[in-house]
Symmetry: C2
Subunit: 474 residues, 2 copies
């Protein structure tokens, strides 16, 4: 039998683990400096915690877990009868359909748990369950895997990692400013130039209101969001089909091509209460950030639309700054996003808790850093040096020498047998050790070991103390 | 609705996460220094990878995942007919049983994936799948959650973490020695005194052979393993019931009370080939470790028996050294174990690959360290300082000051509103900040801020630069 990995999931090789941890560790530490406390929740949640939270489509993508143990006590006689009653139809096709429904029903009745679909619902559950211990505002970071039964394709996995920070229990806009700062610092530390955009749901509503198309707010914003891809020709066509007049479209084009924030503000009437609320809140966020010097591009973008069924205030999105990174291939779309939402915990009966949060798209960030060759700072999985014993009597010496190096935090390997020199060298080379130490009887007696630079092939005769100094500097 | 965590699983609070990461990070780093490369595999494996690997009992504890998508195409008509044919019996009880069997059958037919049960089988799968890329010997570390459908009880969870290192592809006993050194170093770094015991499967076989009871090797070792708990009276009774004579039991008692390794070796005849093989291999391991100074107790223990259906060579076990830690309550049993096994990858068709490995019982180690109050070195989740703005105009100043501290790696929080002083202090206190900085208009103008030591209540007037110095020293 040929074993396989589950479709849509991945093994992470040592080098991948080290590089992923470089991203995660950078973010975790930064989040901690900003007061976001780490939380971890179980992979499994009760299905009644998960279902109904992600829409019908989401529910269908939930991975359900078959209950363990005694099926008989789980399936009550009434249930069994109800399955029986489903089997009424006689035509062949319908019989199959009926049985399929029975099978599905039985299977569902035998599943009361599922794998978490995101980190937000488990977080809300945690907050509600621990409401008496938690002090609000509560800031948490969470980096864990989630599972979705989507059909796998390039860049879309059934197991992938989410990396979220959220504050709940305060509607202070200070947090919006803080989160923008964190995006900026995070990508600065990861050495990736990005563009951070901010918008506000109410401002999008206000734009629709400005052209008396409040009822078309959602399709309008979805269309505006495509501006980057299809340009004003495309967007204009779409809007016109939605019922926007030429004047409306001209107004929108003029508004959205205005880049100066003060001028944007002047384009909305004082009576447009949605717009004014959005403008005022963005203004406050900008005021907090006035003296902060962004390392990345940061801008208000009225075309930005995301999570409109979910976010109620500011919305954010981050993408690679292709002007800065200068790589046309790096078209990864969004590598982060978030916003303010009301009532996170309402789904579990605790109403009126406002929150704001952002995520980092770990898989995409990984891909981008790899493409741009930006993992120099990631710790390497491969060792610093390998000790090669030339005959059997040298193995013990090599083992003791390894301890000498390891104590000094040098990643050290010992070839475990006195195999042929060529075989040992081949192993050292294939694993990518930068240095090898060749240990023979003569070397042990003289105390002068042979250090080989694997890349250049150069050999040095050195004492173990001198080798330690040299390795410590690498 | 009152949300709940799945029975047998746990949320990890910020402090718990930090402490668990202290353990994991200590181990991960040590493993890396010793050349064990990190591997991560997906939570889900195909059921044909998992089933048949853990015995019948294990198979029943596997969490199976319901397939997503179209049930109809998954359940072929022949299958549906076979379910139908199961429904033959008419008596009520039997009808229920039949239906339960149908339900179970249907459910199983609808599951082709399961959650990983341990880290060993996924590791074996990885090695076989990547046999062309991997160089042997291959050393890997893996720290991930596993899931088992056991009935939850104190200290037994349905989701728990395993922490394993293994070398495959070499039968060199150097690795046995290396693993003993790693156990010693790991618990030394975690500041926990332990007793590390080693034994050999062949030596246990040799003991049975020495009293001509080879066929009773397994029940004999299971009985000897209880010596700690039930003493020689209990063990003697058990052995006598198994058919051991008084002379046999005397021989065993004499053998096992001999603590000197050289004397132990003399008690076996040269013809006892099992014993001689075990003695020779342990001898070689001890020789490698001759010049290594253990920080913990390390001993050969002929009563140690574990994983006899699995291990073929040396076996190891670690427990808290109650003499050192002096706590009679710390009776946690084994906090680590392992051994050499043949043919890890044989289950996936790659025969003859020997391996040796050890695990760390992360949950138990956590519990022990907590009980013994040994988490001093773990980083704290709580911040270093919180900034308290006394009126609305001070919030921006506080936000900028926070950035000043955060740039210097001080974990900093800002209270996000100009709430009443008492409310802010209560928050600062409940979250456990060691310091608060009170920021009013006067403080901003003078540049002298009020730093409050939360434990003592002492207040200092200091510049932000002086505060930074003071906080940096804590």
């Amino acid at each position: 039998m040929k074993p396989q990995v589950v479709q849509g999931t991945r093994d992470f090789s040592p080098q991948e683990v080290m590089r992923r941890n470089y991203i995660f560790d950078t973010l975790k530490h930064l989040f901690l400096i900003y007061g976001y406390q780490p939380l971890e929740t179980p992979a499994m949640e009760n299905l009644d915690t998960l279902t109904g939270k992600y829409g019908e489509e989401g529910d269908q993508l939930l991975f359900k877990i078959l209950n363990n143990g005694d099926f008989l006590t789980q399936l009550k006689p009434e249930k069994l009868d109800s399955y029986q009653n489903l089997e009424v139809d006689k035509s062949d096709r319908k019989k199959v359909l009926q049985k399929e429904r029975i099978a599905q029903q039985i299977a569902f009745d035998l599943c009361k748990r599922g794998l978490r679909f995101d980190l937000t619902v488990p977080f809300a559950r945690y907050v509600v369950m621990n409401r008496n211990e938690i002090s609000l505002p509560f800031k948490r970071q969470q980096i864990q895997a989630v599972w979705r039964g989507d059909s796998p394709q390039k860049g879309r996995y059934r197991e992938f990692y989410q990396c979220d920070i959220d504050v709940v229990g305060s509607d202070s806009l200070l947090y919006e400013a803080e989160l923008m700062q964190i995006y900026d610092q995070a990508f600065y530390q990861l050495n990736l130039g990005v563009k951070i955009r901010i918008n506000h749901r109410k401002l999008l509503e206000g734009i629709a209101e400005a052209v008396q198309k409040k009822e078309l707010f959602v399709p309008m914003t979805i269309s505006l969001d495509k501006l980057d891809k299809i340009g004003w020709n495309g967007v204009g066509n779409e809007l016109s089909q939605l019922g926007f007049s030429t004047e409306d479209i001209d107004f929108l084009q003029n508004l959205l091509s205005t880049k100066n924030w003060e001028q944007i503000k002047l384009k909305f009437s004082k009576e447009n209460s949605s717009a004014q609320k959005g403008l005022k809140e963005i203004d406050e966020v900008l005021a907090y950030l006035k003296s902060y010097r962004f390392q990345n591009r940061f801008e208000v973008d009225l075309t930005l639309a995301r999570g409109l069924s979910y976010y109620t205030g500011c919305i954010f999105e981050v993408e690679v700054d292709t002007q800065l990174e200068g790589q046309s291939e790096v078209k990864m779309g969004s590598i982060g996003g978030g916003g303010r939402y009301d009532n996170l915990t309402g789904i579990f009966g605790w109403e009126g808790i406002s929150g704001v949060g952002i995520s980092f798209g770990a898989d995409r960030i990984y891909d981008v850093l790899l493409q741009l060759d930006k993992f120099q700072k990631a710790e390497k999985a491969v060792g610093d040096v390998i000790l090669l014993p030339m005959d059997k009597d040298c193995i013990s010496y090599a083992f003791e020498l390894a301890h000498f190096f390891r104590k000094a935090e040098i990643k050290t390997e010992v070839y475990p047998e006195a195999s042929k020199f060529q075989k040992q060298m081949k192993y050292a080379d294939k694993l990518g050790f930068p240095f090898a130490i060749i240990i023979g009887t003569e070397e042990i007696q003289s105390g002068l070991l042979t250090l080989k630079d694997m890349a250049s092939g150069t050999q040095y005769k050195m004492s173990k103390e001198d080798i330690l100094k040299k390795l410590g500097l690498n």
